[in-house]
C-alpha cells in the first residue's frame, strides 16, 4: 500500500517537479539558518558560522540531487534531460533538422495515408450490430474451384430453409435502374431485396419501419440521402411513392447513413418472399444471411456443404459440381482490393525504409562532425550509455516531429487518394476511412520504430569513439573510422537497391498500362456519345406477362433512334444491351443445331457473351461486319429469330464452315432456334485487358423483356458531349418516363482501365520519391567524403594532380557503390516482381524495356549526384585546403 502510494507520488513528482523544488530550497535554507544560529551561539562570527553551516552539509547541491533521486525517478529525469538537450541541440542545427524531419515526414506520411485506407477498408469492423455474424453465401463449382456471388433461385430457397444455421436469410438483386418519381425519371441505385433483408443487418430505420412479409412488391425503403434530396426529409418521405419497372412502391421506411449495403443503394424495394426464377441453372440471386446464435461461420459452411451434397445427388445435371460457402461479409467486401492495398502498403514501407537509410546517413555524417564534442563529453565522464541515450533522444525528437508533420501530410494524402482513387477504383467502405485512433497509434508506432531504426546504428557507432585519438586529431572534425564509413556505404547501397526495386516494378506497371492503351479494341471509341436509358415496362419474363407493354417499349426506342438521327451533328445511332466496357453484362451457354442439344448439364455446352443490338449498332460503333448482314428494322418479335456471332464464336463452334444459315439457341430468355445471319469482328468486351471472346448478338426487338433498358450509342461529327442537351430534350419529348444517364465511349473505356492506371500512378509516385531520396543520399555521402578529404586533395593538387584526376578519384568510389546497389536492386526486383504479375498485361516479367528505361533514368541521376561534390572538391585551392585546421 505505502509502496504504491510512494510510486504514484514519485511519478507525480516527475511530472510536476516545480513545487517540491521550491519547498526543498526553502527547507534547506531554513536548515542552514538554524545551523548558523547554533554556530553563532557557540561563539563564531556570522561569516564563519555560515561557512561552518555549509560544511555540515556535504554540499547543498549534492543534497538536492540525493533528495531528487529519492523523490522521483532518476532514469526518467535522465530521459527528460536528454530530450530537452536534444531539442536544444537540434534547434541549433535548423538545416539538418529540417532535412531529416521532411525526409521522414514524407515516408511516415505516405505510410500513414496508405494505412488509413487499409484500416478503414480492411481492418475496421463493419458498423452493423453484430456485424461479425453477417455472412454472404457464395456458389462454388467443385470441379473448377471457381466461386461466384450469384446463387440459383432454387438453391437459394434451400439455403433459406436452413434455420439451424441461419437466423435470417435474404436474397437480393439489382443495380442502377430507372426510377420514376413525381419530378421525373432518373437512374437510382436500386436493390430488390427479400423482406428479411433488414433482419440480416439488424439496422433500425430512422423513420418508419422495416419490411414484413406483406410488403413484397408493394413497399420500398429509401436512404436518408434519397429522402432528403427528393422529399425534403426522412419523415416527409413516408407514404410517398416511387415507380420502378412500371410498378408503384410505397415508401414505408428511411434508413440511416449506417445502412449502405449493397454499395450505392438508395432504394431497397421489397421483393417476393421466394425468388421468381426457381430453377437451379440460372444464377441470378445474391444471398446474405445472419448466423443463428452459437453457429460459427465454419459450422454454417459445413451444413451448406452437406446440403449441397444431397442436392448434387438429387439434381446431378444442375447441381453435380456445386457447393455453397458462407463467408463473413467484411471479407467478401474487401476480397478484391485486399491484395492491391497490401502491395501498395509494401511499396510505401519501402519508401520509408529508404527515408530511414537516408536519415541514418545524415545522422552518421553529423555524428562524425560532432565526434570531438562527443569525445569531450566522454572525457568528462559521460558513459557510453549516456552518449547513446542522448543520440537516441535526438532521433526520437526528430521522429516525433516527423510523425506530426507526416500526419498532416497523410491527411492531405488520404483525401487525395480517396478523391482520385474513388473515381477510378471503386473501393468498398470508403466512408470508413478516417484518421482515428488506429491511424494515430500506427503513426506513433512507426515514428518510434523509425527513430530506433535510424538512430541506433549511428548512435552505437558514434559512442565507440576513441577519446584520446579523436582529441589528439588535429582539426575541428574528427572521423569515425572505417566502421562508420562501411555503414555509410552500406546505407547508400541499400537505398539504391530498394529504390530500384520500386522503380522497376513501377516501370513494369507503366509498360503494362501503355500496352493496355495501345491495344486494338475491335471498335472505334472516339466521337461516340453513350446514353444509358431505361423505360418503365411491366412485363415479366417468368410468367410471360406484359408482352404487349414490352413490345411497345421496343417500338418507342426505335422511334427515339430515328428522332436522334435528325439532330444536327449526329452521324448514326444504335442501341445495345451490353455495350463494351458498359455496366451490363450477360453470358451463358449456347448450342449449335446439329452439334449440341440445349439442355441437361449446361456446363458441357460452349459459352459466350450474350448481347442485344439494334439495327445500325455495329456501324455506329465501328465493329466490322465480316460476313452476311447487320440486324434490320424488320427483325421483329413476330418474325423469324436471327442472330449475329463474333468471329471467335464462329471459329469456336463452326471451324471452317460458313456460319451463315446455321441455327443457334441460348439460355438468354427464349428457347427458339435463331438463324445466324452475320459475322462481326471480335471486341474486347469488359476492358482493354480482357481477351476477345465468343459473343452472340441478338436483335433488341426480338427479346423485348430485356430491351427496356439499353445503352444508346450516338456517333457524332461534333464534340459528343455538346449533344447531351439535344438528346435529352428529344427523348423527354417522346417519353418523360425514360431515365437517362450520359457518358462517352472514350470515358467508359478509360474508366475500365482506371484500376491499373491508378496503381501505376501510385507506384510511380512512390518510386519517384524513393529515387529522389536515394539520389539525395548519394549526394550527401559523396559531399561528406569529399569534405573529409579536403586537405588530402589540397596536397594532391599541390603535388601536381589535376582537377580531372580528383573527379575520377571520387567517382571511382561512387561507381563501386552504384554497381553493388544496382546489382542488388536488380536481383531484388526480379525476386519481387512476381507480386505484381497478376497486375500486368501484355508484357513479361522480364520486360527489357521496363528494366532498360528505369536504368537509363536512374543511373545518370545517381552519377550526377556523385559528380557535383567531386567537381567541387576538384576546384579546391591547395593553399586554403592545406591551411585549413
Amino acid at each position: 500500500m505505502s509502496d504504491l502510494r510512494r510510486f504514484l507520488l514519485r511519478l507525480h513528482d516527475f511530472v510536476r517537479p516545480a513545487r517540491s523544488e521550491r519547498d526543498l530550497a526553502r527547507e534547506l535554507a531554513s536548515h542552514l539558518a538554524l545551523l548558523e544560529d547554533e554556530f553563532i551561539r557557540r561563539g563564531l562570527t556570522p561569516e564563519a558560522a555560515r561557512r561552518a553551516a555549509e560544511r555540515s552539509f556535504a554540499g547543498v547541491e549534492q543534497t538536492k540531487e540525493l533528495y531528487r533521486d529519492a523523490r522521483s525517478f532518476v532514469w526518467l529525469e535522465d530521459a527528460r534531460r536528454d530530450l530537452r538537450h536534444a531539442v536544444r541541440t537540434l534547434r541549433r542545427a535548423p538545416g539538418f533538422t529540417a532535412a531529416v524531419v521532411l525526409t521522414l515526414a514524407l515516408g511516415i506520411g505516405a505510410n500513414t495515408a496508405m494505412f488509413s485506407v487499409i484500416s478503414g477498408v480492411v481492418l475496421k469492423p463493419l458498423g452493423y450490430p453484430g456485424a461479425d455474424r453477417i455472412v454472404v453465401v457464395l456458389n462454388r463449382w467443385t470441379d473448377t474451384g471457381r466461386t461466384q456471388a450469384n446463387l440459383a433461385g432454387g438453391d437459394e430457397m434451400d439455403v433459406a430453409a436452413r434455420h439451424d444455421a441461419f437466423e435470417a436469410v435474404a436474397y437480393y438483386q439489382g443495380g442502377e435502374v430507372g426510377v420514376q418519381l413525381a419530378d421525373g425519371a432518373e437512374f437510382v441505385g436500386t436493390q430488390f431485396v427479400q423482406p428479411d433483408f433488414f433482419r440480416v443487418f439488424g439496422v433500425a430505420p430512422m423513420s418508419g419501419r422495416t419490411f414484413n412479409p406483406d410488403d413484397a412488391q408493394r413497399s420500398a425503403i429509401v436512404s436518408l440521402g434519397f429522402a432528403q434530396s427528393h422529399f425534403g426529409g426522412a419523415a416527409d418521405a413516408l407514404g410517398r411513392s416511387v415507380s420502378i419497372g412500371g410498378r408503384p412502391y410505397e415508401i414505408v421506411g428511411v434508413m440511416p447513413a449506417l445502412m449502405r449495403f449493397p454499395a450505392q443503394t438508395d432504394v431497397w424495394a421489397a421483393a417476393p418472399l421466394e425468388p421468381a426464377n426457381r430453377n437451379r441453372s440460372g444464377h441470378n440471386y445474391r444471398v446474405v444471411a445472419r448466423l443463428a446464435p452459437g453457429v460459427s461461420v465454419e459450422a454454417a459452411s459445413a451444413q451448406l456443404s452437406s446440403m449441397a451434397g444431397q442436392l448434387a445427388r438429387a439434381f446431378p445435371d444442375s447441381n453435380g459440381h456445386k457447393t455453397f460457402v458462407a463467408t463473413p461479409l467484411r471479407d467478401d467486401l474487401v476480397s478484391r482490393v485486399r491484395s492491391t492495398l497490401f502491395v501498395m502498403m509494401a511499396a510505401v514501407a519501402l519508401v520509408l525504409l529508404i527515408a530511414c537509410a537516408n536519415v541514418a546517413n545524415l545522422i552518421l555524417a553529423r555524428a562524425s562532425a560532432r565526434s570531438r564534442e562527443l569525445a569531450v563529453r566522454a572525457a568528462l565522464g559521460a558513459g557510453r550509455r549516456h552518449i547513446v541515450g542522448q543520440l537516441l533522444a535526438e532521433s526520437l525528437v526528430l521522429a516525433l516531429a516527423a510523425g506530426a508533420v507526416g500526419l498532416l501530410l497523410a491527411r492531405v494524402g488520404t483525401s487525395a487518394l480517396l478523391g482520385v482513387g474513388a473515381r477510378y477504383v471503386p473501393l468498398p467502405r470508403l466512408e470508413d476511412v478516417h484518421t482515428d485512433w488506429r491511424v494515430l497509434l500506427f503513426t506513433a508506432a512507426v515514428s518510434v520504430i523509425t527513430a530506433v531504426g535510424f538512430g541506433l546504428m549511428p548512435a552505437l557507432q558514434a559512442a565507440r569513439v576513441e577519446v584520446g585519438e579523436t582529441l589528439s586529431q588535429s582539426g575541428a572534425r574528427g572521423s569515425l573510422g572505417a566502421g562508420s564509413s562501411r555503414l555509410r556505404d552500406g546505407l547508400v547501397v541499400a537505398q539504391i537497391a530498394l529504390s530500384l526495386v520500386l522503380a522497376i516494378n513501377a516501370g513494369l506497371l507503366f509498360r503494362s498500362f501503355v500496352a493496355l492503351t495501345d491495344t486494338p479494341l475491335g471498335f472505334r471509341t472516339e466521337g461516340v456519345l453513350v446514353a444509358y436509358a431505361q423505360a418503365p415496362a411491366r412485363g415479366s419474363i417468368f410468367d410471360q406477362s406484359g408482352l404487349a407493354d414490352t413490345i411497345r417499349v421496343g417500338q418507342l426506342f426505335d422511334d427515339v433512334f430515328a428522332r436522334l438521327r435528325q439532330i444536327p451533328g449526329v452521324v448514326s445511332t444504335g442501341g445495345a444491351m451490353g455495350l463494351p466496357t458498359g455496366q451490363y453484362d450477360s453470358d451463358g451457354s449456347y448450342a449449335v443445331e446439329g452439334k449440341q442439344t440445349f439442355g441437361g448439364d449446361f456446363r458441357r455446352l460452349p459459352h459466350a457473351g450474350f448481347r442485344l443490338a439494334s439495327p445500325r449498332y455495329f456501324r455506329t460503333l465501328g465493329i466490322p461486319l465480316l460476313r452476311g448482314r447487320e440486324f434490320e428494322d424488320g427483325d421483329l418479335y413476330d418474325r423469324p429469330f436471327v442472330a449475329i456471332v463474333s468471329e471467335s464464336l464462329a471459329r469456336q463452334s463452326l471451324g471452317a464452315d460458313d456460319p451463315i444459315g446455321h441455327r443457334i439457341m441460348c439460355g438468354f430468355d427464349s428457347d427458339k432456334w435463331m438463324t445466324i445471319v452475320g459475322v462481326v469482328g471480335d471486341v474486347r468486351q469488359a476492358s482493354p485487358a480482357s481477351t476477345p471472346g465468343p459473343e452472340l448478338y441478338m436483335p433488341l426487338r426480338q427479346h423485348p423483356y430485356a430491351a427496356n433498358r439499353l445503352q444508346m450509342v450516338i456517333r457524332t461529327s461534333v464534340e459528343p458531349e455538346s449533344l447531351i442537351g439535344a438528346v435529352r430534350q428529344s427523348v423527354r419529348a417522346m417519353s418523360p418516363a425514360v431515365a437517362l444517364k450520359f457518358t462517352t465511349l472514350e470515358t467508359s473505356v478509360n474508366d475500365s482501365i482506371a484500376a491499373p492506371r491508378f496503381r501505376m500512378a501510385l507506384v510511380s509516385t512512390f518510386a519517384t520519391l524513393a529515387m529522389m531520396l536515394a539520389v539525395a543520399g548519394m549526394y550527401a555521402v559523396m559531399s561528406y567524403v569529399t569534405t573529409q578529404r579536403t586537405s588530402e586533395f589540397g596536397l594532391r593538387v599541390a603535388l601536381g594532380a589535376r582537377g580531372a584526376d580528383l573527379v575520377r578519384l571520387v567517382l571511382r568510389g561512387a561507381t563501386r557503390l552504384l554497381a553493388v546497389g544496382v546489382a542488388l536492386g536488380l536481383a531484388m526486383a526480379l525476386a519481387t516482381s512476381r507480386i505484381v504479375t497478376s497486375m500486368l498485361f501484355g508484357i513479361g516479367l522480364l520486360d527489357a524495356q521496363a528494366y532498360a528505361g528505369v536504368l537509363l533514368v536512374a543511373l545518370p541521376l545517381v552519377i550526377a549526384a556523385a559528380t557535383i561534390p567531386a567537381i567541387r572538391a576538384a576546384r579546391v585551392d591547395p593553399m586554403i585546403a592545406l591551411r585549413e585546421p
Partner: protein, 115 residues
C-alpha cells in the same frame, strides 16, 4: 551524481528510516535540523552524520505517508518544516522495529557462532 553515493544511501536506508521514525515517535514533531542534532547527540562518536543525507529519508517516509511535514515557527522565530509521525507511521515503526530486532538477533547469533 556518482553511483558510489547511491550505494551508501542504500546501505543506510533501512536503518536511517527506522531511526528517524523512532526519534519522531519519542520526541514529537521535529524539523530536519533538530533531528540531525538529536542523531548526532545520541550516536556521537560512532556516527558523524552528513546532515544532507537526512533529506532522502524524509522524502521517502513522507511519500509513504508515515510522517507528515508542516511549516511552523521555531522558538527563535525561524520558519522550519516540522515532521510529525502519523498513525500509519507508528504502526510501521512497530513492524520495522520488530523486524530489525529479529534481524539483528540473527546476525548477532551468526557472528557468535562463526567466531
Amino acid at each position: 551524481m556518482a553511483s558510489g553515493s547511491k550505494e551508501r544511501v542504500e546501505l543506510l536506508q533501512g536503518t536511517l528510516d527506522l531511526i528517524v521514525l523512532r526519534a519522531l515517535d519519542t520526541m514529537g514533531p521535529q524539523h530536519a535540523y533538530g533531528l540531525a542534532a538529536r542523531l548526532e547527540q545520541v550516536a556521537e562518536p560512532s556516527l558523524t552524520l552528513n546532515q544532507g543525507t537526512l533529506y532522502p529519508a524524509l522524502v521517502r517516509l513522507e511519500q509513504r505517508g508515515w510522517i507528515k511535514g508542516t511549516w511552523q515557527r521555531t522558538e527563535t522565530n525561524r520558519e522550519a518544516k516540522y515532521y510529525a509521525i502519523t498513525r500509519a507511521g507508528v504502526r510501521a515503526l512497530r513492524r520495522q522495529a520488530e523486524r530489525w530486532r529479529r534481524l539483528a538477533g540473527l546476525v548477532e547469533k551468526l557472528l557468535l557462532d562463526e567466531s
